[in-house]
Amino acid sequence: MARIDLADLAHSYSGNAADPESFALKPISMTWRQGGAYALLGPSGCGKTTLLNLISGIVTPSRGKILFDGVDITPLSTQKRNIAQVFQFPVIYDTMTVGQNLAFPLKNRGVPKSEIDARVAEIARLLDLTPYLSRKATRLTADAKQKISLGRGLVRSNVAAILFDEPLTVIDPELKWQLRSKLKALHRALDLTMIYVTHDQTEALTFADTVVVMHDGRVVQSGTPAELFDKPAHTFVGYFIGSPGMNIVPAEVRGREARISGHTIALNRSYDRLPAGAKIEVGVRPEFVDVAPPAPGLLSANIERIDDLGRVRFARVRVGDAKFAARVPPGFSIPGELAGLIFDPSHVHIYADSRLIEGSA
């Protein structure tokens, strides 16, 4: 159990001398608090697995330090780090029984037999594996195998953190929910730091207190699910989180007004000092744009299609060259091809070169 600090950590698979832009993980500094449930969210190849492997010690960083409770453990091997990791594909020692699998990490560390037995029994109980302890670990279902992998991490009483590398990839959808709620329950019961890598936003948002969104080797935002939804710090976060993603359209912004395709919409805040020469965009989530009958004063749009998601309907519309998704209010029937768009000014964000700009009140 520990606080984990990353100090200017960076990694390149092609060696240290390479151009920093080619780094798989660009320099980051951040703190993971003890007992937190974190999700590392991002598309494939964004560096999230690299970050995870750096923390567990499978990969040695090209640059920077990792501290557990303020102690620099960067040069330590994986064995000495007290880290547990669950991999994408379940790892099972198939010549052993389920119980021997669970006992393996303790046996390797020379823990006395009585203590091993007690620990294994306790973890098996937590994971509902008790009836299977004396059975061979082969020919179990993927979720049972993944539980054993997880159990091998939990069985060590002193782990600093448990890292999950997309652990539910091979699990059937209906069992994913069960296993994920099991993880949450374990997190609450054991007060462990858990870091969960995934590219699935639902998984990340339901599992974690803090979601860390990564893009192209960088952490673009870290915050609670609500923060990521309400105030994406980067257009990538807006686009990646939410379904459908945030509308992001080029605009001209002057003071409290933004002009999109010649139409002016009001903003809640004033943006007077935008960086010169930057690409200015307006970002607004589809949930905060409503479709209305065309009317003067509303941004007019061509309706392309309606997506009915059950509880809500989203209209896919076109304004000039820009595409929008907008909410269709309940009971509203589409009058024709043309519609007006109503923006909720408190949820319209301004981005300069993809980064969120805080306006002044």
Partner: protein
């Protein structure tokens, strides 16, 4: 549902059946025929019933003595080369690089002995071991070790065994290497995290993941060494005395040296039977290796 009956397919099988008949079944039946008869040359045959088989299994007769002696010799030879080649092959496979250009280099070097014809392997070692002109024989003798595979039983055995190890360890190593390569990295990473020692990684991950290829390697090496003929024949000719006369060498001696077709036919049938039985045992073990445990349903 009625099955459509169409016997035309038999015509497609017929050519294969004919080829197999002429290449395998007819010759085998000829051998069965010979094994029941005695010949004094001149194409004269006399019925002998199961006489040769009785003699073959009776160590007090000349034929039985020679057969059983060469059989034990051959089994001992197979056991020795398996005991050397299998562990050595595993060690070689474990110490091979996992990536980079050195992988290709190692594979080529390992494959070289496998590509050399048996006759040539025999000739290489025959010359290599000669005390007068061979590099190995000359070097051993000049450092004071009296080595001569023509006159000394132990030297002849050592030469034949070292030659087989040189020729075939690569096969075991290549098979094991393929087995090792198929282990996903996550296993090694998980083992690191579980704090496994090098030995624990070997026993818990590598050996179990290699057990299928190892069974194949053992089967191939056993069969090959049990049927070995060319190499020891070229190097030692079965000698000194009969000390390196393996079953196939004995068989050729009887069939072509003495032209005792009846005895040779009986011997080759028994030899064939042993090989088929061993094959069947291996096949049964291999196909049952992973299946004896019943699959279990979800643990949720």
């Amino acid at each position: 549902m009625d099955k459509i009956v169409n016997q035309k397919a038999w015509f497609l099988v017929l050519p294969v059946f004919l080829v197999v008949a002429f290449s395998a079944i007819l010759p085998l039946m000829t051998v069965v025929n010979y094994s029941m008869q005695d010949t004094f040359g001149n194409n004269q045959f006399f019925w002998n019933g199961v006489g040769w088989f009785k003699e073959l299994l009776d160590p007090t007769t000349d034929l039985g003595g020679r057969f059983l002696a060469s059989l034990w010799r051959n089994l001992f030879f197979s056991a020795v080369i398996l005991a050397i080649e299998v562990p050595l092959g595993i060690v070689v496979a474990l110490s091979m690089p996992r990536e980079g250009w050195t992988v290709a280099a190692c594979l080529v070097i390992l494959a070289l002995p496998l590509l050399i014809p048996w006759n040539v392997v025999g000739t290489i070692w025959q010359i290599f071991g000669r005390p007068d002109i061979g590099l190995l024989g000359y070097a051993l003798n000049s450092i004071g070790l009296h080595y001569n595979y023509v006159s000394n039983d132990l030297d002849a055995w050592a030469t034949v065994i070292v030659m087989d190890v040189w020729h075939w360890t690569s096969l075991v190593a290549l098979l094991c290497y393929a087995g090792l390569k198929s282990i996903p990295d996550a296993y090694y990473q998980a083992a690191q995290i579980d704090g496994a020692s090098r030995w624990a990684v070997f026993t818990a991950i590598q050996l179990p993941k290699m057990n299928r290829v190892l069974l194949i390697a053992v089967l191939l090496r056993f069969m090959d060494s049990f049927m070995i003929y060319t190499e020891p024949f070229v190097v030692t000719g079965g000698g000194p005395g009969n000390s390196t006369t393996f079953v196939s060498i004995e068989l050729v001696k009887i069939a072509l040296g003495q032209f005792d077709l009846g005895k040779a036919a009986a011997l080759s049938l028994v030899y064939n039977l042993i090989i088929i039985i061993v094959c069947w045992v291996f096949y049964t073990v291999m196909t049952n290796a992973g299946v004896e445990r019943r699959p279990s349903k979800g643990v949720a």
